[in-house]
């Protein structure tokens, strides 16, 4: 058998938040990445409404699977395994994907892998940057999580959290500040755009947990968000215009400064040569730029997927699933739950 033919064809299902993502990979080759987003339905609420997201997942599931199969040029019956995000995420939203995955696994008589969303965000890197046969450090930043991880093998069953946010996730801070500035929802791309026309050095917003005695790899973004709110309110009270682009740029700089300093320091302390970025906030252009700069300075190789693979998608779930199949991990049972608070160290349910 050729190596290509022996690689598993895996369908990945992701429904932990507001994107119905279906991905298909063979080994570490991306064949399809179909996403149906309900983000527009949430915009007027200023955040993701779980019930709205869950309803959208149900509607989008089968059509998105079809779209992925067409993109990949495969039939469902060709698939070797089904992987699905089992957690963490919104309980009701996760459940739609988990139930669908079980049904596909049962109806196709293929193994099921209920995987961790966060580990999937890390694993998607393989699709773009190829296998990594050594340990690395990963900075995982999204609307729900901000963590620094030690990853002995990308797509493996082990993973250690070196530090995480103590309050808001980085993406959450972007959403809150965007709302404050009247930019809309979701905040990440809107702040990123506004910041391009602003001066990142114009306002000195605080860098949370950056003192010598603070935990080295933990984050805090709640104080930053409040500092931005106070600054903006003071301007408004004084009857002065709010320089939205400068505020956005200065806020963004404060977030990515802390993220990159700590991630690079973790990579150095762990003695690894690679830093990997993942999660929706890794799509931020300034984070990518600053991480590249600082990694280059430290002689660390930066691995970061293209923005479309950083945000939630099914390809990352399929990518992790394919690694688990390849390394003989035991499939999940048909009675696994969707676990909204699945611990980060549990890669497979």
């Amino acid at each position: 058998m050729s190596p290509m033919a022996s690689e598993a064809l895996v369908l990945g299902i992701e429904t932990s938040c507001d994107e119905t993502g279906i991905g298909i990979v063979r080994g570490s080759t991306l064949l399809a990445d179909a996403v149906a987003s309900s983000v527009a339905e949430h915009a007027r609420y200023g955040g993701v409404v779980p019930e709205v997201a869950s309803r959208a997942h149900l509607q989008a599931m089968v059509p998105t699977v079809h779209r992925a199969c067409e993109q990949a040029g495969v039939q469902l019956s060709d698939v070797d395994a089904i992987a699905v995000t089992a957690g963490p995420g919104l309980a009701g939203a996760l459940l739609v994907g988990v139930a669908a995955a079980k049904a596909y696994a049962l109806a196709l008589d293929k193994p099921l892998y209920g995987v961790n969303h966060l580990s999937a965000h890390v694993s998607v890197d393989l699709l773009e940057n190829g296998p990594l046969e050594e340990a690395c450090v990963a900075l995982l930043v999204s609307g729900g999580h901000s963590s620094i991880l030690r990853v002995p093998r990308v797509g493996g069953l082990e993973l250690t959290e070196l530090g995480a946010t103590l309050d808001d996730a980085a993406g959450e801070a972007f959403d809150k500040v965007a709302r404050l500035l009247g930019l809309g929802f979701p905040g990440g791309p809107l702040i990123d755009r506004a910041a391009r026309d602003g001066d990142p050095a114009s306002i000195a917003f605080p860098r949370g947990l950056s003192g010598a005695s603070d935990p080295a790899f933990a984050f805090s973004f709640s104080g930053l968000k409040t500092a931005v709110a106070r600054w903006v309110e003071a301007r408004q009270r004084a009857g002065e215009p709010v320089p939205v682009n400068d505020v956005a740029a200065s806020f963004q700089e404060a977030v990515v400064d802390v993220l990159t300093i700590k991630a690079v320091r973790a990579a150095r302390e762990q003695g690894v040569d690679h830093l990997l970025l993942g999660g929706g906030v890794a799509a931020n252009s300034r984070l990518r730029e600053l991480a590249a700069e600082r990694c280059a300075r430290e002689g660390i190789r930066l691995r970061v997927p293209r923005p479309g693979l950083c945000t939630d998608n099914g390809a990352m779930v399929a990518a992790l699933g394919a690694q688990l199949v390849q390394h003989g991990a035991p499939p999940s049972a048909l009675d696994i739950p969707a676990d909204s608070s699945m611990p980060i160290a549990d890669v497979l349910m």
Partner: protein, 229 residues
């Protein structure tokens, strides 16, 4: 001509297999298997293993199925979606049609009914999903309401009532309760009966649209609070 039957519109998680080629003396297809677990929070975990058991009990495999029949509610959202996405995915994976049945109709069809019947299931939040049936036919659309707010006097509404919601709010609904727990939830026979014609005629597949009857709980934000004192 076997069909897989699924309903998750109530506290019961139900899966079964019916043979639509055979009409029984009681009317409707022959029930080859019926697996039921009453666990209002268990749909996500229990349904898939239950389907496997129902197939095994019927001596059938996925490959033997001609169709999937699903109760589309009304019912509590989270559980309801588990059944519908499961039915849709099996239909998709096997390339067989899916047919919908209103879950309240299935309860009515499973009942040796009086002329006028009220079916009520538990909608939580002290409400019921309900519908009226006269001579076996539903009058109007299923609705959700507080038991005390059903239209008209009890005796004008129906001669008797059935369903887990009717049992739960018997004192408020004030109609004779058909006191058979087998009728509290949609059962495989009733679901199979209402879709058997479509299975037999090979009718086109249906989209399995859930009957939510309630809008999502979501409010648009008002102006944000200030943080400064």
């Amino acid at each position: 001509m076997l069909a897989l039957v699924i309903d998750t519109s109530s506290a019961a998680v139900t899966a079964g297999v019916v043979d639509c080629a055979v009409d029984t003396a009681q009317g409707g297809p022959r029930v080859l298997s019926e697996q039921v677990i009453v666990n209002a929070r268990g749909h996500g975990e229990r349904l898939a293993p239950l389907i496997r058991q129902a197939l095994a009990e019927a001596g059938a495999g996925m490959i033997d199925l001609t169709a999937v029949i699903a109760g589309v509610g009304p019912g509590p959202f989270t559980g309801l979606r588990v059944g519908l996405v499961t039915a849709a995915a099996i239909s998709d994976a096997r390339g067989i049609p899916a047919y919908d049945v209103c879950s309240l109709d299935a309860i009515a069809a499973g009942t040796v009914e009086p002329r006028r019947l009220l079916v009520a299931t538990d909608a939580r939040r002290r409400e019921v999903y309900w519908a009226r049936y006269v001579a076996g036919r539903r009058v109007g659309e299923p609705a959700v309401a507080k038991p005390a707010d059903l239209p008209g006097e009890a005796e004008e509404l129906a001669d008797a009532m059935v369903g887990a919601g009717a049992r739960l709010y018997a004192d408020l609904l004030r109609l004779p309760l058909l006191d058979d727990v087998d009728h509290d939830y949609p059962a495989v026979r009733g679901l199979g009966l209402l879709a058997a014609d479509r299975v037999r005629s090979g009718a086109p597949t249906e989209p399995l649209t859930p009957l939510y009857l309630r809008r999502p709980d979501a409010v648009e934000p008002v102006a944000s609070k200030t943080v400064s004192q």
